[in-house]
């Protein structure tokens, strides 16, 4: 069963703009992860935020987590055409021993 639900399903922006994607989930989690998938390729891990963290940065990526609202957001600043991809959130429950539940993803298109 899928726990994470990304919003929006698709997002189209111009190069240089910021892109924000949201993820909602249903049950208590140990951590939440964001992945990127280029067309026809496997997923690549971007960033992990633990349940006791509220915000995390990695380069042009900023992730927030609100456990009271069971939601997370991924912000990509100063987007580039190369950021065009699908982005997925994945949640890890306590005791899941590495298993993740993935959402359906947001398809981001960055136009040059």
């Amino acid at each position: 069963s899928q726990q994470g639900e990304e919003d929006p399903q698709a997002l189209s922006i111009q190069e240089g703009e910021n892109a924000t994607m949201n993820c909602s989930y249903k049950t208590s989690i140990n951590n939440l992860q964001w992945y990127r998938q280029n067309s026809g390729r496997g997923l690549v891990h971007l960033i992990l935020i633990r349940s006791n963290e509220r915000e995390k940065h990695s380069g042009r990526l900023r992730v927030t987590l609100d456990t009271s609202k069971k939601s997370s957001s991924l912000l990509i600043t100063a987007s580039r055409a190369a950021d065009t991809a699908s982005y997925f959130c994945a949640t890890a429950r306590w005791g899941s021993q590495g298993n993740l539940i993935f959402g359906k993803g947001t398809k981001l298109s960055v136009k040059p």
């Binding site: 899928q2 140990n30 951590n31 992860q33 026809g40 390729r41 496997g42 997923l43 690549v44 891990h45 992990l48 633990r50 997925f88 994945a90 890890a92 306590w94 005791g95 899941s96 021993q97 590495g98 298993n99 993740l100 539940i101 993935f102 959402g103 359906k104 993803g105 398809k107």
Partner: protein, 113 residues
């Protein structure tokens, strides 16, 4: 460093034919291994996962089976493919502890005719 290999990259098979997709991991020991299927433009559906040799957990009833004959080898099989088995199959690994990211292969695009 760890690497994951998945093959073939693409496969076209007739309905009713058998299937064997292979995934191997290098550079780590006793990984958790996962098989996912992704329908076009959709999220990932977990099919099978394995925490050790010969240990397979199935997430959904289906026409597929998985085996782990060696520590770093994971095989997805079918005796008779159905049209509904078409999709993009992804193999992944991690160290099986809470909070570990998963690392994915490049996938196999399976088309059933």
């Amino acid at each position: 460093s760890q690497t994951i290999h998945q093959w073939p990259a693409t496969l076209v098979q007739p309905v009713g034919s058998p299937l064997s997709l292979e995934c191997t991991v290098e550079g780590t020991s006793n990984p958790n291994l996962y098989w996912y299927r992704q329908a076009a433009g959709r999220g990932l559906q977990l099919l099978f996962y394995s925490v050790g040799i010969g240990q397979i957990s199935s997430e959904v009833p289906q026409n597929l089976s998985a085996s782990r004959p060696q520590d770093r080898q994971f095989i997805l099989s079918s005796k008779k493919l159905l049209l509904s088995d078409s999709g993009f199959y992804l193999c992944a690994w991690n160290l099986g502890q809470d909070g570990q990211p998963q690392h994915f292969g490049d996938g196999t695009r399976l088309s059933i005719l």
